[in-house]
């Protein structure tokens, strides 16, 4: 199984490679990718440097061009595909069918991976992208349960990549406009969710309030750990109850089902977190490398090591992890 790791900058890319990534995914410095955060991502010089570094070590580079261009800025997406093809990346990760149509017609040899933002959750959606754009791989949205992924893998015309670890989108990716409803900017259009520019933190007495475009997302008492005000993780009111209306702030961690993912035939495991620090990337990749190697060496003897869990829990959001939709405790 290929371990696909995030890099928001060159130090993260190095951390991923040193700690055992098989492939690294990254984005250009603009809204053509779904982590369009200031201070992140790669200009042409940095990308070429990264590519050389990775190639020398036999590591693949995938470029995420996985947002949805609007007409006025179409040229940016076209240029991003041109640059990726020109420097010879191993694959581009794409979501928009216009971008795919451009890429497959202009660069028939360029490998296309369907981004999670493409929102393909079933075999006929995969057939659509395979037949029309010859995609080689698809990243599956974090909405399917393990048996559903199993059946999908049996019939899929392309390799499947799943999210193994990191922040958890609870909505079907590519079909969530919550962020643009509150802030005007969304993952599909701008490559951001709950953007930092819309965030405000304010202390009122002992209570810390977090807001997005002035909408109150959460209130924290002094004994609570405050989290970034991601919309779907806020505490809102339904009737008289104030609670995490959509989801608790937790991270996805699938270490315990690594053997099952392998048996199902999942070809690649994705670590989320291009926005995270090189130290985070290094730590997480190290654990996953060890786990995959331990499993490959003796599948029957594989069990989750406590040291792995401790290392991962330390870096997880809200210090809690979950199997998310794979196990569905809420089902």
């Amino acid at each position: 199984m290929e371990l696909v790791c995030p890099a928001g900058n060159f130090p993260s890319l190095k951390a991923a490679v040193i700690n055992g990534a098989d492939a690294v995914y990254l984005g250009f410095k603009d809204e053509t990718n779904a982590r369009n955060f200031s201070g992140l991502n790669f200009n042409d010089t940095k990308l070429e440097k990264s590519l050389t570094y990775a190639r020398d070590r036999n590591i693949k580079i995938y470029v995420a061009i996985n947002t949805y261009p609007q007409p006025a800025a179409w040229h940016k997406w076209q240029a991003a595909i041109d640059r990726a093809a020109d420097i010879g990346v191993n694959a581009v990760i794409v979501a928009d069918i216009g971008v795919m149509d451009y890429a497959v017609n202009k660069y028939p040899d360029l490998n296309l991976h369907l981004s999670v933002q493409g929102s393909a959750t079933n075999v006929d959606a995969l057939n659509f992208y395979y037949k029309n754009f010859n995609i080689k791989r698809a990243v599956i949205p974090r909405v399917l349960a393990l048996p559903q992924i199993n059946r999908l893998a049996e019939k899929s015309p392309v390799d499947l990549e799943v999210f193994a670890f990191g922040s958890l989108c609870i909505m079907a990716e590519g079909r969530c406009h919550l962020s643009s409803y509150i802030t005007g900017e969304s993952p599909n259009m701008c490559g951001v969710c709950s953007p930092a520019s819309a965030v405000a933190w304010k202390n009122t007495g002992d209570v810390l309030e977090t807001r997005l475009n002035n909408v109150l997302i959460d209130r924290y008492e002094p004994d609570e750990n405050a989290g970034y005000p991601t919309l779907c993780k806020g505490r809102f009111k339904v009737g008289d109850n104030v609670y995490h209306t959509l989801e608790e702030p937790t991270s996805l961690n699938t270490l315990s089902i690594l053997p099952e993912l392998h048996k199902i035939g999942v070809k690649a495991l994705k670590i989320e977190g291009r926005q995270r620090s090189p130290a985070y990337v290094g730590q997480v990749v190290k654990v996953w490398r060890e786990a995959i190697d331990a499993y490959t060496k003796s599948p029957e003897l594989f069990s989750e090591r406590t040291s792995w869990q401790l290392a991962l829990n330390k870096v997880s959001e809200g210090s809690q992890t979950t199997l998310g939709a794979y196990s569905r405790p809420w089902q």
């Binding site: 609007q70 006929d124 959606a125 005007g184 809102f236 939709a325």
Partner: protein
């Protein structure tokens, strides 16, 4: 300002019912709709595969009745598909012989394009630019419903560039113009969660909330509406005043999304506006229209 003879009359559509209503309520509702001046009616369950108060046979019965009453009927498919049984449900709809299908997932687009059958794309088929639109037109798209987060300006650019680059692309454009905006889909059921029920034992609790459950911030601002696995806008989207602007841009159809009360009155209001203009239309400050003006969706740009 009344519509002049040579201007094309804006068509009105009624989107699929997004909530879980009782069987008899649904039949009564469409009886009223049949008598209303709406031109196009979308039928079917698009949100949750567990909601099966009507079978495909029932929906088809309704479709024939509405067709007899002069409505153009389109069958809508499920948006988020997870299980193979759901895929079969969609396949049965796509294989019907008599009615056009609104594809709400790429699986339906695949099935319909493979059959060579013209189709409509729903608001969650991500068409954000002219090249995407025209790629789908080549595969049989005959009408698209614009993704709700796009603005008037983006729509204008898509239509302009589409006409320039692909002058022969024949398709219609529909805009979600009234109702609570469908914003997101999840594997989780938020209505069941609100009632502390697991999804597998949801007891169809969403049936108690015929217009969804309002979600408010801790300072009582209405933010979202829960509708099972779907999250909707907290405010009602209303683009009635934009009717003339839409007509001049080349929008063919304005979509109204059903609510438990007053939907036929809304249809009537839109109908009067397409006949007589919008000069006397009043818009509630409680409604929203931000997306259309390239702002946050929740904003109301008439009252800023």
């Amino acid at each position: 300002m009344a519509v002049s003879e040579n201007e094309k009359m804006m068509k009105l559509s009624l989107g699929p019912i997004l909530y879980f209503w009782e069987r008899s309520t649904i039949f009564d509702f469409y009886e009223q709709v049949a008598r209303s001046p709406v031109d196009i009616v979308y039928l079917g369950e698009t949100v949750c595969a567990k909601r099966r108060q009507l079978s495909l046979h029932d929906w088809l019965d309704l479709a024939y009745k509405l067709k007899e009453r002069g409505k153009q009927v389109v069958l809508s498919t499920l948006t988020l598909l997870e299980a193979e049984s759901e895929l079969s449900q969609v396949r049965r709809i796509c294989e019907n012989d008599d009615f056009t299908v609104e594809a709400n997932d790429m699986s339906a687009v695949y099935m319909l394009s493979e059959q060579g059958v013209p189709f409509v794309s729903g608001p969650f088929i991500n068409i954000y630019n002219a090249r995407s639109l025209n790629t789908l037109v080549k595969l049989g798209l005959q009408r698209w419903v614009m993704p709700v987060e796009l603005s008037r300006q983006t729509l204008d650019e898509i239509l302009t560039s589409s006409k320039k680059d692909f002058p022969d692309s024949p398709f219609e454009t529909e805009v979600f113009s009234f109702g609570y905006l469908p914003l997101a889909f999840s594997a989780r059921c938020f209505t069941a969660r609100a009632h502390n029920l697991p999804k597998d034992d949801c007891r169809f609790i969403c049936g108690q909330h015929v217009d969804g459950m309002p979600v408010q911030s801790q300072e009582d601002e209405t933010v979202f509406t829960l509708n099972g696995i779907q999250t909707q806008s907290g405010q009602c989207y209303n683009l009635l005043q934009q009717l003339p602007a839409m007509r001049s841009m080349g929008v063919d159809i304005m979509r109204i999304s059903p609510q438990s009360a007053g939907t036929v009155d809304i249809i009537q209001e839109f109908h009067m506006a397409r006949l007589n203009g919008v000069d006397h239309v009043e818009v509630s400050p409680e409604s929203c229209n931000g997306y259309w003006f390239h702002r946050a969706g929740m904003e109301n740009c008439y009252f800023k």
